[in-house]
Symmetry: D3
Subunit: 144 residues, 6 copies
């Protein structure tokens, strides 16, 4: 059996957002989205954990060089999301609800190819919005 | 492939318990359960992480509304376990050993149906007893 | 010597803000405030630690009842700052720069009197903006 | 000026307790102590941080050898409080309310002399009961 | 379905290491391994999480007695890796690159049999090198 | 009273060291320094918290610009200590024991002047060596 190892890199970004549908009334927005519907936005410190799997390269001992993985995440995600308004400033989030569920799917779409080009296989993304709320995504796979 | 996302909510409760069998001698209890057999109880801060999976609802961006998930966990688990004695006060734990393994199985049994009624699928429960000891349960499934 | 004990309660809130001066050019704002000057806001999860000092009441063992302290912080601070835009929605922050330094001073001004009315003495406030940036305030005192 | 350094050692213990006065009615106990008055106890994971100050010994670079400090805390506090019932099993807590305020004062009384005999000066004790509730004690001093 | 529970024990060790190949030039080592190639070593606090799966024993409520699991990890891993130089002092690491990927594979090889002898099934190992870099290993299995 | 606020920046570095005196026997070194005397070194992830005090500048709301504070700490401390051997590679530690007590004093000496030049007053340094061992230094002052 090949010795597949999963390596995880944590990065973080701080962003503003709101959960809001223009085609719903204020009351409906507040009923569904609660405080997250505040019209002037609110924000979070997001922690992002990106898991790449692979067999360690015998020359380096690495699944993927963490310098490369960190550089990819910073360029593709952190530079785009950090200190931004998710609804107004981040292209891939503009036409969808800024829920963490939708965020984690978009971040997967963004990272899958550059990580593949760097020789890795994206296996899982975890996104932490607060100390109590997190999402995890396996590219649509359902390991459990 | 459907875009299944896993969403996790953390709640916590503080409880007393002991690990003890009446059909065993004091010596046998202490040999097997160590300090956890102290007859006058001891206690812990328990952190509970409940994972629900599903495809985000296109209308809300949510797998499940975290307000609903939090409300269900608080009503079904926290209100029953918090500031209680697991051996004496919690009905579902009375006839079984108050190990974290047994606790996490009971909590799964409690939460599976209400989460299903709220439109989610319970996928995993993690229960942290101390900074060093945790259990995880996938409803009996063995993803690895 | 009286046995003064310091008791600390942690609460948290999530908010949007930007660091921005209308009387400065865009360039000047970006030079001084960096990414924090993003015009469409960004946000944070703020952790707030409120320290109250006093001699434990012999009848209760309490410096202050934590239920009361938590209720005061939630009513006076969390309900005002949580899921809000600090620059637009929070009255006490409107005419000043939304730095953590200014926030912690304002939160002290808000909490000092209600805590005194509840029989405590506000001793210290710690406000955490990210995992790496914090401020502490002792009401202007300089213990070190 | 002498180069006084403060060194801190973290230890932990898990214990059961309740907040309860026999000379009060059930109603009065529940009004004041809330869920903490549950008659069958509840419990916590307590984190204990002991600060010792002094000028580093030029022969060792140590204010106090952490092996000694850890050994003292374990013998005097952890062995006495861990996996115990604070109200029933811990002599120094029996006649007083088992609040964290009273606990931290008792722990100071216990540790002050053995630390002095080991060549250190006890400066501060921090006791964490939950992720949100803490007490700190400076031996009755009020640095701020 | 059998009620398989996963139980996790955290231990830690502190060690020095460097990432270095003698058959590469200094420049090549620094290009690939960056700061980790510093010839005089550097070091880390490693957190190790060992997951064992099984059906709780009806007599004890345990998948495996955590006292046994902790003892095995301490004897087989912590005593061997703690306060050591991974390249010079740890036999199983001597002829391979001291990457976390290689470490986690070696630790699996070490722990699999003793845990089996104690009645458990090793299911996963997580090794944390810093707050931002982690690896996970499922014995070569790829659950996702 | 002036509204003095304390602002704290966290940085981190990973380093190898040993506690060892050449003028002592192996036995004496091991008796005093325990596992920390391992001749081939061991290492840690160090967390460094630097506190600067001052009255917020009315033009910026800042005690000190955190970009400047972070830059100073990185240039003066992190670049010097990170991925290094404290005993062999770090000039200011070469002739003294590499205890955290001595480290925190040296780091104070390094940072005091550059922070003053940036308009701040260094008030406190906290250095965390492991999850259980920390030191704090107030420049020799004894606030408590």
């Amino acid at each position: 059996m090949s010795k597949t190892v999963y390596i995880i890199r944590k990065e973080h970004f701080n962003a503003a957002h709101k959960l809001w549908r223009n085609d719903w009334s204020v009351e409906k927005n507040e009923e569904v989205f609660g405080k997250c519907a505040n019209k002037n936005w609110h924000g979070h410190n997001f922690n992002l954990f990106v898991t790449v799997k692979g067999v360690p390269n015998p020359d380096t001992g690495f699944v993927i060089n963490l310098k490369d993985l960190s550089r990819i995440i910073k360029k593709e995600v952190v530079d785009v999301f950090d200190h931004k308004n998710l609804n107004l400033d981040v292209a891939c989030m503009k036409d969808i609800l800024a829920s963490t569920e939708n965020m984690v799917i978009q971040i997967w779409e963004i990272l899958e190819e550059p990580i593949q080009l760097a020789g890795g296989v994206l296996a899982k993304i975890r996104l932490e919005e607060t100390e109590n709320n997190f999402v995890e995504y396996f590219g649509g796979n359902e390991p459990y």
